[in-house]
Amino acid sequence: MAEYNEKILDIKNLDITFKTIAGPIHAIRGINVDLMKGETVAIVGESGSGKSVTMKAAMGILAQNAVVNSGTIEFTYIGDNGEKETVDILKQSKTWIRKNINGRRISMVFQDPMTSLDPTMNIGKQIMEGMIWHYKTPKQEAYDKAVQLLKEVGIEDAEKRMKNYPHQLSGGMRQRVVIAIALACDPDLLICDEPTTALDVTIQAKILELIKKVQRERGISVIYITHDLGVVAKVADYVNVMYAGKIVETGKINEIYYDPRHPYTWGLLSAMPDLDTDDDRLYTIPGSPPNLIREPAGDAFAMRNRQALVVDDKVDAPMFKITDTHYAATWLLDPRAPKVEMPIELKHRIERMKKEAEDYGSTI
């Protein structure tokens, strides 16, 4: 495992609004995320919670109607002169980001490999494009490297596949190609936006394995964006739980899974399908994420929370510290709050998970 001492990405107080016809949408409401070299961080939340927007901001590919109200995204990398540099991506011009960051230092794997490959360009060209663009790599060299990459991501007959168009490949193959494209310029950070959601269940595990393998071999950092806590459990070191444009709980993977504190995290964990549960009814979180056109005054989760306090409707909770690495934004952690336990079903479930982990010696 790589050392966890160098900070590579540091997002502070990020706050983003989208201007739409229906009115401004306050999609990201002051979030903080940091990531060390070689580490894997997951951002978990329901769709529309702002996970993807955060990472698009880091890539400089936000939609045109997005306005960054405040915050910094500091990225540390080895510059062209061989020295360590730190830049605030939000302060850089689009041209600079395209030239220095995108593809070269941060790459992205998108959700749906059916739509994220250009249908009119063969995959060889799509892999080579970035190398030729950034490094002026000679064509033959780029070609050889592309073939190598295809082999690395586990595609057989790599040479033959170079000439194929996306529609000639299966979903899993396409996602492998997307990963190959992302790796083409040897980035330091890989952002995977729901990399397995659009794939068959049988393929999902294979793609996760592949990303893990690539990470191990190359020592790069990875950010997962997902709504699937099952995926998170398999891959992440740290977890950020995001709700309505805010991070509501953050911590090491074991802290989130075995000692969740935020009612929303309780909800997410309870909603994970599980074969062993005695309860025959599938738990769901009531309601749906709030529409951020009408931003709630207090805690955005209050109206869906079975353990809501009166204060939740009045003002949003700050981040309470639980351990050095574990924080949660819920008033339940305030000393004045009544003692509220997580739902009993969840408690049983966590105990079961812990026991299993001990039995099988897995990471969690």
Binding site: K94, R98, S107, M108, T115, E129, W133, Y165, H167
Partner: protein
């Protein structure tokens, strides 16, 4: 791809045959057709019938008809220019119409593409609004209104271009008609390009290309335009045909000696033979254009080009 092309070609041929059949039937029914001329004596009629093979079974007649039409033997004109072979009439006029139509398509497609691109790339700016206004007006105002306005302003008032077509200075006198004809094509292409470009630019593969670091011209031309062009090509064919319709009027306004004015003349003077020959020419041209566009579409889109032939 082979199968795709074969299918198109067969459809095209079949369509042409259907059109020929309709024309053939009309020819037989037409009250004013030469064979129904009441002044002819029985002997003369018999001679004519023999000459044109009308004494033979209908199927054979149709076969002869098809062969003649395809060979360009359309018979002779009866009213407009008595006993002149129609092929000859058309041969003189067709190049004029094709030239003007060609300029119009080229101009309209090019300007439309540029306008649409600008509108899409500068979305929701004043430039976008301007392009949208231009294209809405272009689609809504008929070509001959443009023709009249242009001829009034540039021809009548400013004497920049001739008001009427003049064979001696063909190029100069093609300017106004071509411009007025191109307006609709331009407007439609501009509109369509804008929509397609916006759709393509909002797609995930554009995001992926951007996240690779590709930017500027390479992003637009290599990824966006290439994908947007595919559907744009499909709308071009009907537009070219709309040009043919518009050209009737524009040819009248500028007194252009093209096939359009010939058709109008022929209809007004009931010269059926000419009308039917021109209908055939128009249809054949249209079918040919559609075929070319379809095949072009197949070449550009790898999804069709590489489709398995047994699929």
């Amino acid at each position: 791809m082979k199968k795709y092309v074969a299918k198109r070609v067969i459809t095209a041929i079949f369509t042409l045959l259907v059109i020929l059949l309709v024309l053939f039937i009309l020819m037989q029914l037409m009250p004013g057709s030469p064979f129904n001329d009441e002044k002819l004596t029985a002997d003369q009629k018999a001679a004519l019938y023999a000459k044109y093979g009308l004494d033979q079974p209908v199927v054979v007649q149709f076969f002869h008809y098809v062969v003649n039409m395809l060979r360009g033997d359309f018979g002779v004109s009866y009213k407009i220019s008595k006993n002149t072979p129609i092929a000859q009439l058309i041969a003189v006029r067709l190049p004029v119409s094709i030239a003007i139509g060609g300029y119009a398509v080229a101009l309209g497609a090019l300007v439309g593409l540029i306008l649409g691109l600008i509108a899409a790339l500068r979305r929701d700016t004043i430039l976008d609004t301007l392009c949208t206004v231009i294209s809405v007006i272009g689609v809504s105002v008929p070509s001959y209104v443009f023709a009249l306005a242009l001829s009034f302003q540039f021809g009548y008032k400013w004497h920049l271009f001739p008001m009427l077509y003049n064979t001696a200075e063909a190029l100069n006198s093609s300017v106004l008609p071509s411009v007025s004809l191109s307006m609709f094509t331009m407007a439609s292409i501009a509109r369509f390009t804008r929509t397609e470009m916006l759709e393509v630019m909002g797609s995930e593969y554009m995001l992926l290309a951007e996240s690779k670091g590709i930017s500027g011209g390479a992003l637009i031309f290599r990824h966006a335009l290439r994908n947007a062009l595919i559907p744009i090509i499909t709308v071009l064919a009907p537009l070219i045909v709309d040009l043919m319709t518009g050209s009737l009027v524009v040819e009248k306004i500028f007194s252009i000696p093209g096939v359009g004015s010939l058709l109008v003349n022929a209809i007004q003077s009931n010269d059926y033979n000419v009308v039917i020959s021109l209908s055939f020419i128009y249809s054949a041209m249209y079918i040919a254009i559609m075929l070319v566009v379809d095949i072009l579409y197949g070449i550009i889109d790898p999804r069709i080009r590489l489709a398995k032939d047994d699929a």
